[in-house]
Point group: C2
Chain length 221, copies 2
């Protein structure tokens, strides 16, 4: 089955990055099909891709005949179909905590910084680069403040967000920290996030999933 | 355990509405602790609530000593701790589909229409009511177009989003349709969404969770 995995991905897409990490953690081989989000008005809006993913967003994972979208749902699917190593804890409160941490990123930070949102801020809202940057940093900062408070205060936080093995929470956190650096958010107030991000950066599965390691990465972006 | 359930909720919050539906579907008794999102600058920003929920968002579910946030994570927690009736299918591809549909609402529609986002559009972006309405309708429309295409084309769609029993997908869809009506989004292009919404409206668990049925509902809003 693994030979049939195709990931429609864009190198710098946070949501694609999440799925790449999960695939790597599971040791699954997959083929990357690059979808360029900007060129020619966005390849994600082309008829062929829109038929595959009606939201016209990346990523899409094709597993044989199955077409899967929404990155957090894809990670849970991979965890259920390839249980080792687990990406969610074995207890219900632990799973709730990991999903909560993941959803703070996946629902309340990342969607507000999506490319299509920035495009709307430019037109019709006429926001310039400085205003767009302020918008991005605002939502990342208040999300990171909550994450830092929750991670720093919990006895369940370990080397990673939950215990000493990577989970769905780390899979969502790392691409958001990457994005925060790209947008020059000062990170000094988030020592726990930085500690976990550094732990992940040293892990081969996370490293291989990084934007710069992708076949469609652009040198000067 | 059920006697100890306390839901910090705001009557018109979509995310609170989701958890109320899930609690009702499970037949769980709970006490509502109203958090007024506007009065006095927003009760969610008060020190007591912020200590409970560092994101300063609703809902929060307190289950004995456990404090749970993020509505989709809470619904999964309730489904795991009270398995009957199930709110997710028993097969991995089915669960992936239900989570995908839920996350289209929970990640890509709802967060863009959150109160705090509308407040930012007003200041510093100086958007007026018409621009705010256009923003709301834009993200709802493109999300609903994708949902309609996916639901109308799938053999897995039944009386509800997935088969003939309510799931996490319906729990997320119904509050978003409520919100769409509030913001006067034309709904004629979404016959499948309307059919499922009508099915849910006739279900006692959904009806009792509606904003107007809540103890903190305001008559003239």
């Amino acid at each position: 089955m693994a030979a049939d995995l195709v990931l429609y991905s864009y190198w710098r897409s946070s949501a694609s990055y999440r799925v790449r990490i999960a695939l790597n953690l599971k040791g699954l081989h997959y083929r990357t099909q690059a979808v360029h989000l900007v060129r020619d008005g966005g390849e994600q809006h082309g008829a062929a891709y829109a038929a595959l993913n009606p939201q016209q967003l990346v990523p899409t994972l094709v597993d044989g005949e199955r077409v899967l979208t929404q990155s957090m749902a894809i990670v849970e699917y991979l965890d259920e179909t390839h249980p080792q190593p687990p990406l969610l804890p074995s207890d219900a409160p632990g799973r709730a905590r990991v999903r909560e941490l993941a959803q703070i990123v996946g629902c309340d930070i990342h969607p507000l910084g999506n490319l299509r949102v920035l495009q709307w801020l430019g037109n019709p809202f006429e926001a310039g680069d400085e205003q767009k940057g302020n918008w991005m940093r605002h939502w990342m900062a208040i999300g990171f403040q909550a994450l830092e408070a929750m991670l720093a205060s919990s006895p369940h936080t370990g080397h990673y967000c939950h215990g000493d093995t990577p989970s769905l929470a780390d899979i969502c956190l790392v691409p958001q920290v990457y994005n925060a650096r790209r947008w020059k958010l000062p990170l000094g107030d988030y020592p726990t996030l930085l500690r976990i991000d550094a732990m992940c950066a040293a892990h081969a599965a996370f490293h291989a999933a990084a934007p710069e390691q992708q076949p469609d990465a652009q040198k000067a972006a």
